[in-house]
């Protein structure tokens, strides 16, 4: 799985443009979180990784004029028994500094937020 974290300019069409690009480039959308901040609109997305390179998608996202900053991480699903839904995996972000828990990112297999 891939996690894309962005800040968008809060302008008309920015989120639609982003989501459309990601799907058209062949990355199925998983979960979406967004919230307005003084810097714009913070968005976090999980994407199903396929055989297309995530770094290319990141560069395609970065060339959108509404994207102020963007980062992509690889995350690995880990099943955790004590969660509310037994089948729901917790996604743990893996970055260069090591492994960090990310208990806020919980999704059932179907891709809807738990």
């Amino acid at each position: 799985m891939l996690e894309l974290t962005l800040t968008l300019a809060p302008v008309e069409g920015a989120l639609l443009r982003l989501l459309g690009l990601i799907e058209r480039r062949g990355f199925p959308l998983g979960a979406i979180q967004s919230r307005p901040t003084p810097a714009g609109l913070d968005v976090r997305l999980t994407l199903a990784a396929d055989d297309r390179p995530g770094d290319v998608l990141l560069r395609q996202v970065q060339r959108l004029h509404d994207v102020r900053q963007a980062r992509m991480d690889f995350i690995q699903p880990q099943p955790v028994a004590h969660l509310r839904r037994a089948a729901a995996p917790v996604f743990t972000r893996v970055d260069a500094a090591g492994t960090r828990d990310s208990q806020t990112l919980t999704f059932p297999a179907g891709g809807q937020p738990a």
Partner: protein, 571 residues
């Protein structure tokens, strides 16, 4: 494009006037469009503006004319249309500009903001419709943002990798009174810093290569880097192949140039790509028509990829070295002297064996020979704009390409109907440049209404209409890949094209025999105004060579190969 100084009125002005003020400030002197309800305030303002408006006869013609204008002039092309169907009719031309990286600003009228989202008369969500095919888009809801938005749109359209930008302009914003702000041209964008480590890695790869090859695309033209490409090719001695849109980067007759690669590429170009050990991609993007079966493309090659757009590098083929930035700056840095005499000799041999022949038997007009001859006798600065289909490939293969911006073709979208309006745009932008449109009997009817525009403004576009009474390329594929099951490709009930042209007030002639060609081409070139030459050709003629879809590029179909083998064995 150079921004122009302009005076600042003391009193507020209409939004529509502010829009046009901003266009003038951007140096716009020509726009292509068609009026309608929601954009009427802009058309009213046009009456007093120092801008030439070219009234096309269909909005698609406006978008494609702006597209052609931009491709040849290097300026941002501007088109405009009203809301609803006017806006949707622009879509094909916008998509064409997107896929071919053409700087364009499309302005659409929109219903008043209070009606947006209510399914009002002639309301469509053109912003939403065009999201995937624009570099960026705006809806101007705040009248105070009109001029700034226009300036931003032009900056985006031309900066880096160019592309189309849409401005949706609601009618109430166009009629609102807005304060005028002076326009200050933004500072030129800082040049992309050169990655000198990557340059050094690239130079090492080139120096050590046994069989290096330049693979060049339209990015060379967009960067205005043709002189740098030619200098680098000469100094290194490395052979060159080109994409469809990169043709002219090196002249067709240059001995280092092996031709177009890919589906209808030359044998020399495809064999060189498949045999090279280093592929230096310059402003191209590994399009499927160029690569054939991607997994088997240039199988033994390392790749150096130069492009202004970082998102293109390693998108389809992993590049060992990424060089992102201005090609004019990057290309001279790669000058080195690889020892490649054996490879150069091999490529020269392939090139010699790939030369087309124009001695087909019979009395019918052989389209490749006609096109070759036309390119030989036309003034050297002539621009040729094509439609899409077999004739497009024949132009690519047989025209004597002299410079990259003298060949306009819809490479990415493959837009039938592109040729005539694009040629019109070129001629309006460069009135002293001879412009020829090469079209087919399928394509010409897609935008035939623009003959009226040629007539209205006396635009001296010379059209060569190659008529095989078929959708020739589709028919060819049905013959080769669908067991000769011909489905909806017969156009033998075409109108009399000379009568059509004359009905629009365009001089025309028709030929069908080989012995008529020379005089007809002379008449075409000598005509003072627009002229249409209708050329009847063999309905069964095919484009060769052809790499079947999803096949590696060395597997080319070409009946000429068996002819050559027979001649060799007979000798």
């Amino acid at each position: 494009m150079t921004a122009q100084a302009h005076t600042v009125p003391d009193t507020p002005i209409r939004g529509a006037d502010a829009l046009l003020r901003a266009l003038v400030a951007q140096g716009v002197d020509t726009v292509f469009g068609y009026p309608g309800g929601a954009i009427m305030p802009v058309y009213d303002a046009l009456v007093d503006a120092p801008i030439r408006h070219i009234l096309v006869r269909h909005e698609q013609g406006a978008a494609l004319a702006a597209n052609g204008y931009a491709r040849h002039s290097g300026k941002v092309g501007v088109c405009m249309a009203t809301s609803g169907p006017g806006a949707t009719n622009l879509v094909t031309g916008i998509a064409d500009a997107w896929l071919d990286s053409v700087p364009m600003v499309a302005i659409t009228g929109q219903v008043p903001t209070a009606l947006m989202g209510t399914d009002a008369f002639q309301e469509v969500d053109i912003l939403g419709i065009t999201l995937p095919i624009v570099k960026h888009s705006f809806v101007i809801r705040d009248p105070a943002r009109i001029e700034a938005t226009v300036h931003e749109a032009f900056r985006i359209a031309r900066e880096g990798r160019p592309g189309p930008v849409l401005i949706d302009f609601p009618k109430d914003v166009a009629t609102a009174q807005v304060p005028v702000t002076p326009f200050s041209p933004p500072p030129a964008p800082a040049a992309e810093p050169v990655d000198h480590n990557a340059v050094q890695r690239a130079r090492s790869l080139i120096q050590d290569a046994q069989r290096p090859l330049f693979y060049t695309g339209y990015g060379v033209g967009l960067a205005d880097a043709q002189p740098q490409l030619r200098a680098l090719a000469k100094s290194t001695g490395i052979p060159v192949v080109s994409t469809l849109k990169g043709l002219g980067g090196l002249p067709s007759e240059d001995e280092q140039f092996l031709g177009m690669l890919g589906m209808h590429g030359t044998r020399a170009a495809n064999l060189a790509v498949q045999g090279c050990d280093l592929l230096i991609c310059i402003g191209a993007r590994f399009d499927d028509r160029a690569t054939g079966k991607l997994a088997e493309f240039a199988p033994g090659a390392r790749v150096i990829h130069l492009d202004v757009d970082p998102a293109e590098v390693s998108k389809l083929r992993y590049a060992n070295v990424h060089l992102v930035g201005d090609l004019r700056q990057l290309l001279p840095l790669l000058d080195c002297r690889p020892q490649i005499s054996e490879w150069v000799a091999q490529c020269a041999q392939w090139r010699e064996q790939s030369q087309p022949r124009y001695d087909a038997p019979g009395e019918d007009i052989y389209a490749p020979a006609l096109l070759r001859r036309l390119s030989e006798i036309a003034p050297p600065e002539t621009v040729v704009a094509c439609d899409v289909g077999q004739h497009q490939m024949w132009v690519a293969q047989h025209w004597l390409h002299r410079s990259i911006n003298q060949h306009l073709t819809s490479g990415g979208l493959g837009t039938m109907g592109f040729g005539l309006p694009a040629a019109m745009g070129v001629k309006l932008g460069s009135p002293d440049t001879p412009v020829i449109c090469v079209s087919g009997d399928g394509s010409i009817l897609m935008n035939v209404q623009e003959l009226a525009t040629l007539r209205r403004y006396g635009i001296a576009v010379k059209t060569v209409l190659l008529d095989n009474s078929r959708l020739g390329m589709v028919r060819q594929w049905q013959e080769l890949f669908f067991d000769e099951r011909y489905s909806e490709t017969d156009l033998s009930d075409n109108p009399d094209f000379t009568e059509v042209a004359r009905a629009f007030g365009i001089a025309a002639a028709s030929i069908e025999r080989r012995d008529q060609v020379e005089d007809a081409l002379a008449a075409l070139l000598a005509a003072d105004g627009p002229f249409l030459l209708h050329v009847r050709i063999d309905p069964q003629a095919n484009v060769w060579p052809l790499v079947p879809p999803n096949t590696a590029n060395q597997h080319m179909l070409d009946p000429a190969d068996s002819d050559r083998s027979k001649e060799t064995s007979d000798a």
